[in-house]
């Protein structure tokens, strides 16, 4: 097919537009990465001199280290609980009809619509009303509620694509329901479960708004610690934290991608 001048114009303007949009997407992180190596405490572009001292500062500021440990703990517990509860619910949702199924599903999916600040406020009020301490478990509960819809969705999709014949073949060979679950269903769903769990962990690691409502000084997560830092100091330490933060998340993402192609998780393949 011969290309007309108009086709060439469209091709080139499309490419330029694409480059500009991708630049817009990547710009903030590139700028923050440059800023993190800026020697001066006041931001300048381009930086006049370079230094790693803000990275050193990150490790001296205790809140970040504690926040990171809290965040990792909360993300790990939150993801595991959300995975167990979410996978169980997705299985039940996929396999059985029972009364109140719709109601249960509606409640569990509602965090997709309810703003995070409302969820945070709700659990804060609830724990205050029940005189529960603002412990780490309160934060974990909030995170489980927020990430569970994503886990349910991803496991449910895996179950829908699951070939029921495998289970029937196993049954015909004498395997009871529990044996089928352990030897056939779970092994075949493992990639989906692992990626769903890691996805939940990343979402939990990133959660900020609802956490802000329910944490205290002792349980604050890394994003909350970072937020509090920005409110008090204006130096580029936070730029350095951001770079480290992004590297941690990128590592988690790469693991997900290894197990399960992202295109598949997001249904755009």
């Amino acid at each position: 097919m011969r290309k007309t001048p108009l086709d060439h114009l469209l091709d080139w303007s499309g490419r330029i537009l694409l480059a500009v949009i991708l630049g817009f997407v990547l710009l903030p992180f590139c700028v923050v990465a440059i800023a993190s190596f800026n020697d001066s405490a006041i931001l300048n572009f381009p930086p006049k001199s370079w230094s790693l001292r803000w990275y050193a500062n990150v490790f001296e500021y205790r809140d970040f280290a504690e926040g990171l440990v809290n965040s990792l703990k909360i993300a790990a517990f939150g993801a595991v609980i959300a995975l167990i509860a979410g996978a169980g619910f997705a299985y039940v949702l996929n396999r059985y009809e029972f009364s109140l199924k719709g109601v249960l599903n509606g409640i569990l999916m509602s965090p997709l619509v309810i703003p995070n600040f409302t969820i945070g406020l709700g659990l804060l009020i609830l724990s205050a009303a029940a005189s529960l301490p603002r412990s780490m478990w309160l934060v974990v509960t909030v995170h489980v509620i927020i990430v569970m819809p994503f886990v349910v969705r991803s496991v449910y999709v895996s179950l829908q694509n699951f070939e029921r014949r495998y289970e029937q073949a196993a049954e015909s060979l004498g395997a009871g329901p529990g044996h089928v679950l352990v030897t056939i269903t779970l092994p075949l769903l493992t990639p989906g479960l692992i990626s769903g769990g890691l996805f939940a962990a990343i979402l939990s690691f990133n959660e900020f708004t609802a956490s802000l409502f329910v944490v205290n000084q002792r349980t604050q997560t890394l994003p909350v610690a970072m937020y509090n830092y920005v409110r008090e100091y204006a130096d580029p330490t936070l730029a350095a934290v951001s770079v480290i933060y992004v590297l941690v998340v990128a590592a988690m993402l790469l693991i997900v991608h290894k197990f399960f192609r992202l295109e598949k998780v997001l249904n755009v393949d």
Partner: protein
């Protein structure tokens, strides 16, 4: 597989009035069926006829709404699939992708807690039976379609099932392989004397492999019998058209005398011997004749039905003659018959069709054509 002599007297599978609906839609009308020990029984019918539903009921993947099901005299209606001791081969084989061939075959032995040494021995034997001894360590996706099917068969046979169920097992194979696998399966089945229920929509497969065929449509068994009975003596219009080709003639039933029926076809009087259990009342009827039972006659021959050649299709050793015939049933008023290719005739030739003295089926004329 019990070997007590008395066991030979009762059916391997007995289905007593089993029926099934899905959310109000009837998938299977009440069915009564006895499958004999060692028999190869085929459930044949178009998609949606209820054959797969019946198979799933026998396997226990579905629960019957009504009726009882026995395997070797044991009532199994309420027994879950994993306690029924049936072997099943699925259309896509459903080999466990996370296990190798040997593990797949050993699966049913592990669930039965068969001792390790014995299990290994039986897996080896089963793989030898399907000629796959050298493939024990392969993963299912590393095998060809035919090899996958053999693994599925070995996996089903190794547990020594009371009944073997085959759910369209050949439909994923290409034509040549399909024929080879049919022969192989049939050999293994008769050597082991295995009671087998085979589900297919392919009449060729059904006719070549079965001891008996149950032709199904719309949730009912329309006829059950040996392949010859089904092909040569169909009892109703559905079986006549679904199994094999049929030429239809508009006719009028004048009278019946014992097994002899007198009719007129487009004004031509015809006498026929009939095998049917029941004949329709005198009046307009449709005559079903297999193409190979129709012969060409001279135009104007007595008892022959006039027609003219519309088209001749060369098929190698024979030719198909498509004839325009005013007495033919069906919308296009065509009749097809096969002649040796050197006897093919040019279009426009006036001919006549001679009907066989016995064989044609006579059914009451229906306003709408019977479908699945």
């Amino acid at each position: 597989m019990s070997t007590e002599p008395a066991a030979r007297d009762h059916p391997a599978v007995q289905i007593d009035g089993v029926s099934k609906s899905f959310s109000g839609a009837v998938a299977l009308e009440p069915v009564w069926l006895k499958i004999r020990r060692g028999e190869f029984l085929t459930l044949l019918g178009p998609s949606g006829c209820g054959k797969t539903t019946l198979l799933n009921l026998i396997a226990g993947f579905l629960e019957a709404d009504r009726g009882e099901l026995f395997i070797n005299r044991d009532l199994v209606t309420q027994v879950p699939p994993h306690q029924r001791e049936i072997g099943i081969v699925f259309q896509n084989y459903a080999l466990f992708p996370h296990m190798n061939v040997a593990q797949n075959v050993a699966y049913g032995l592990r669930t039965r807690k068969v001792p390790k040494a014995e299990a290994e021995q039986r897996v080896r034997e089963a793989l030898a039976l399907v000629k796959l001894e050298d493939f024990a360590d392969r993963r299912p996706r590393q095998l060809s379609g035919g090899q996958q099917q053999r693994v599925a068969l070995a996996r089903a046979l190794v547990i020594r099932p009371r009944v073997l169920l085959l759910d369209e097992p050949f439909s994923a194979l290409d034509r040549n392989l399909r024929t080879a696998m049919q022969v192989e399966l049939k050999e293994i089945q008769s050597r082991l004397g295995l009671t087998t229920v085979f589900v297919t929509h392919d009449q060729g497969e059904a006719l070549s492999m079965s001891d008996r065929i149950a032709v199904m449509s719309r949730g009912r068994i329309r006829q059950i019998g040996s392949p010859t009975e089904i092909y040569d003596q169909p009892q109703n219009e559905f079986v006549s058209t679904f199994v094999g080709d049929a030429n239809l003639f508009d006719a009028r039933l004048v009278g019946v005398d014992g097994a002899r029926a007198s009719l007129t076809v487009g004004g031509t009087p015809v006498m026929l011997d009939t095998y049917q259990d029941a004949l329709p009342a005198p009046g307009p009827v449709t005559l079903f004749v297999r193409p190979e039972h129709c012969t060409l006659a001279q135009a104007g021959a007595p008892g022959a039905i006039p027609a003219s050649v519309a088209l001749s299709v060369y098929q190698g050793s024979y030719a198909e003659l498509h004839l325009d015939c005013p007495s033919a049933g069906g919308a296009d008023r065509r009749v097809m018959l096969r002649v040796p290719s050197r006897q093919a005739l040019p279009p426009g030739t006036a001919v006549a069709i001679a009907l066989p003295a016995s064989g044609p089926a006579i059914y009451a004329k229906q306003t709408t054509k019977a479908t699945a």
